[in-house]
C-alpha cells in the first residue's frame, strides 16, 4: 500500500495520506478555513521535508478553496471586489515570501522560522478567538440577543483612497484590504497555509466585513494566492510534490463536503470556540517542541539546502 513520493523522495502508505487529507478536509469544511495550519505540521510529522510540506500544502489549499468558493458563489457569499483587492496585496506578499523562504533555506533556518511562525500565529489567533467567542456566547446566554452596530469606527477609517464595497456594505480605504492581503501572502509562502485562520478574523475585526461574506471572500482570495504560491514554489524551490498533493486533495475534498454539511447544524460561536481550541492545541504542541531538548542536537542537510 506504499506509494513513492517523487519530490519528497520517500515512501508513504497512501491510505495514511487519504485519512489525513479527509480529516483535515472535514475540519476545513466545518470551520471554513483551508486547514493548511493542520496539514503542514502533520506532513512534517510524517517525515515529509518541511520545504516540500509547505510547497505541496499550497497546491492542496488551492484545490480545497476552489471547491469551497464554488459552493459559496452559488449562495452569493463572495465579495469579488474585496477579494480582488486582497488578492492584489497577496500577490506582492507571496512573491516577497518566496524570496524570504529561499534565503532562510540557504541559511538553514527554514524549519525554525516555519515553526516559530506557527506558534506565534496559532497562539495569538486561537487565544483571541477563544476569548471573543466565549464572550459572545456568555453575553447571549445572559441578556439575550442584543443589537450591534455593523462595525466600530476607529483610526483605520481615516485612511485615504476610500472605496465603496457594495456587497459587504462597507466604505473603507483600499489600503486596508491591500495590506491585509500582503501580510497573508507572505504567510502563505513561508508557512504553506492559506492563511484563512488569520484572514477570517482579520476581515471581521480589521475590515469589519459582515460574517456571512467573510468565508466565501476569504476562500476567493486564498484561491489566487495559493495558485501563485504553487507556481512560484515550483519554479524557485521545486518543492511541490504532485503525487502527494493529489492524494491529499482526493481525501480533502471529500472530507470538506462532509464537514460543510455537518457545520450547518452548529451555531456560529460554538464553531468559533471549537476552532479556537483546535488552533490553540496545535500551537501549544509546536511551542512545546521548540523548547524541549531534541533527541539529537545534530541534523543533516544536502549542501545549499535547508
Amino acid at each position: 500500500m506504499h506509494v513513492y513520493l517523487p519530490i519528497a523522495e520517500l515512501s508513504v502508505n497512501w491510505l495514511t495520506l487519504l485519512v489525513i487529507g479527509s480529516g483535515v478536509g472535514f475540519l476545513s469544511g466545518l470551520f471554513g478555513v483551508g486547514g493548511g495550519f493542520l496539514m503542514t505540521p502533520l506532513l512534517i510529522f510524517l517525515g515529509v521535508p518541511a520545504p516540500v510540506a509547505v510547497g505541496t500544502g499550497a497546491a492542496q489549499i488551492l484545490a480545497s478553496s476552489v471547491s469551497g468558493v464554488l459552493a459559496h458563489w452559488r449562495r452569493q457569499n463572495v465579495d469579488v471586489q474585496m477579494g480582488l483587492a486582497l488578492t492584489a496585496g497577496g500577490f506582492v506578499g507571496s512573491a516577497l515570501g518566496i524570496w524570504i523562504f529561499t534565503l532562510l533555506r540557504q541559511a538553514g533556518q527554514v524549519d525554525l522560522v516555519i515553526r516559530i511562525c506557527f506558534v506565534l500565529f496559532l497562539g495569538g489567533v486561537g487565544g483571541l478567538m477563544l476569548v471573543e467567542s466565549a464572550r459572545t456566547w456568555f453575553r447571549q446566554a445572559t441578556s439575550g440577543v442584543r443589537k450591534r452596530k455593523l462595525h466600530e469606527h476607529n483610526w483605520l477609517h481615516g485612511l485615504p483612497f476610500k472605496l465603496r464595497f457594495r456587497s459587504s456594505k462597507l466604505y473603507i480605504s483600499a489600503l486596508l484590504p491591500l495590506a491585509v492581503g500582503f501580510a497573508i501572502g507572505i504567510l502563505t509562502a513561508i508557512m504553506g497555509v492559506g492563511g484563512g485562520f488569520i484572514l477570517v478574523p482579520a476581515m471581521i475585526y480589521i475590515l469589519g466585513m459582515p460574517t456571512q461574506m467573510v468565508v466565501g471572500t476569504s476562500l476567493f482570495q486564498t484561491l489566487f494566492v495559493a495558485a501563485n504560491v504553487t507556481i512560484l514554489q515550483s519554479i524557485t524551490n521545486q518543492t511541490v510534490d504532485v503525487m502527494l498533493a493529489l492524494l491529499l486533495i482526493v481525501g480533502g475534498v471529500i472530507g470538506a463536503q462532509l464537514g460543510t454539511r455537518f457545520g450547518a447544524r452548529l451555531r456560529g460561536e460554538q464553531l468559533r470556540i471549537l476552532l479556537a481550541a483546535l488552533v490553540l492545541a496545535v500551537g501549544l504542541k509546536l511551542a512545546f517542541d521548540l523548547f524541549t531538548t531534541p533527541d539529537d542536537f545534530y541534523s543533516l542537510a544536502p549542501e545549499g539546502l535547508g
Binding site: 488551492l62 469551497g68 533556518q109 495558485a227 486533495i249 475534498v253 543533516l300 542537510a301
Partner: protein
C-alpha cells in the same frame, strides 16, 4: 526464488572461474542485479552478491553510495529555543554505506588497512574540504553524520555476513532502504589472506528512478514553470470536480 537463481548463477561463475581462461583470477564475483529501479511502489531492495575465490581466504564486501557534500548542523539553545548554530560541511559523505564480511572485520584486517580501504563505518574518510578550520570538533560532527545516516538505515552499523558455501563459493545479501539516493553505487569485493588484501573487484550498481516517479522528478526540475502550471490545473480541476459531484447528492 532469488536464492535458487543466485545459486545457479554462482555455479556458472565458479565453473567459469575453474575453467582454463580464468585460472589466473583469485576472485570472480557479480551481483544479482546491476540496476535498482525506484518505481512508484519502491520500499527498498535486496542486493545479492556472490562469487568464487581460487582458494581459502576471507571476503569483505563494501557497498558505497554516491558521495554528496553534506552539511551537519548543531543545535544550541538561544533564549530557551533550540536553534541551528554551528555547522560543518563534509565534502564527500557517501549517501549509503554497507559492509558484509566472512568474519568480524577487525579479525580480518589491521586498523591501518581498514582505514586505507575505508572498510567499516568507523573507517570511512569523512572530512571537511578544508581540514584546517575547526580541527577540534570534527569527530563530534562526523559521529553525528554517521548517527543520522544509521538512523535512516543508510549506514549499516553491524557488518552483514558473507557466507561461504564450501571453501570457494560465497554469497552475501545487502538491503537498500526506501530512502536511498539515486546514482551509481560502488560495490567492492576484497579477498584477504593473512592480513593482506590480495585483490579487489569493483562493480558498479546503478540506482535510478524509473517510470512515473522519475518522470515527475525530471519534469519538476527541468520544466519547473510548466510543472507548476500543471499542478495548479490539477488542483483546480480536482476542487471543481468535487464541488460539482457533491452538488448533485
Amino acid at each position: 526464488m532469488s536464492v535458487l537463481r543466485t545459486t545457479l548463477l554462482s555455479a556458472i561463475v565458479i565453473l567459469l572461474a575453474l575453467g582454463s581462461g580464468a585460472r589466473a583470477q583469485p576472485l570472480v564475483a557479480d551481483l544479482s542485479q546491476h540496476l535498482v529501479a525506484i518505481t512508484a511502489g519502491f520500499t527498498g531492495a535486496d542486493i545479492v552478491m556472490f562469487g568464487a575465490t581460487d582458494g581459502p581466504g576471507d571476503v569483505i564486501i563494501v557497498v558505497t553510495g554516491p558521495p554528496k557534500p553534506t552539511i551537519v548542523r548543531r543545535k544550541g539553545r538561544l533564549a530557551g529555543i533550540w536553534v541551528n548554530r554551528e555547522s560543518m560541511l563534509f565534502a564527500d559523505a557517501p549517501t549509503f554505506y554497507g559492509v558484509a564480511a566472512s568474519k568480524p572485520i577487525d579479525e580480518i584486517l589491521a586498523h591501518n588497512q581498514l582505514d586505507r580501504h575505508q572498510i567499516g563505518v568507523d573507517h570511512i574518510r569523512l572530512l571537511p574540504p578544508n581540514p584546517e578550520a575547526r580541527r577540534d570538533d570534527i569527530p563530534e560532527f562526523r559521529e553525528a553524520l554517521v548517527r543520522a545516516r544509521q538512523r535512516d538505515g543508510l549506514y549499516g552499523g553491524e557488518p552483514g555476513k558473507v557466507t561461504f558455501l564450501g571453501e570457494r563459493l560465497f554469497r552475501a545479501r545487502m538491503a537498500l532502504p526506501a530512502k536511498v539516493t539515486t546514482g551509481t553505487y560502488r560495490v567492492q569485493m576484497f579477498l584477504v589472506r593473512e592480513g593482506q588484501v590480495v585483490t579487489v573487484q569493483t562493480t558498479p550498481l546503478l540506482v535510478s528512478k524509473i517510470g512515473f516517479g522519475a518522470d515527475v522528478f525530471d519534469f519538476a526540475h527541468q520544466d519547473s514553470a510548466f510543472y507548476g502550471l500543471i499542478a495548479i490545473l490539477m488542483a483546480a480541476a480536482a476542487g471543481w470536480t468535487a464541488a460539482a459531484a457533491f452538488r448533485r447528492i
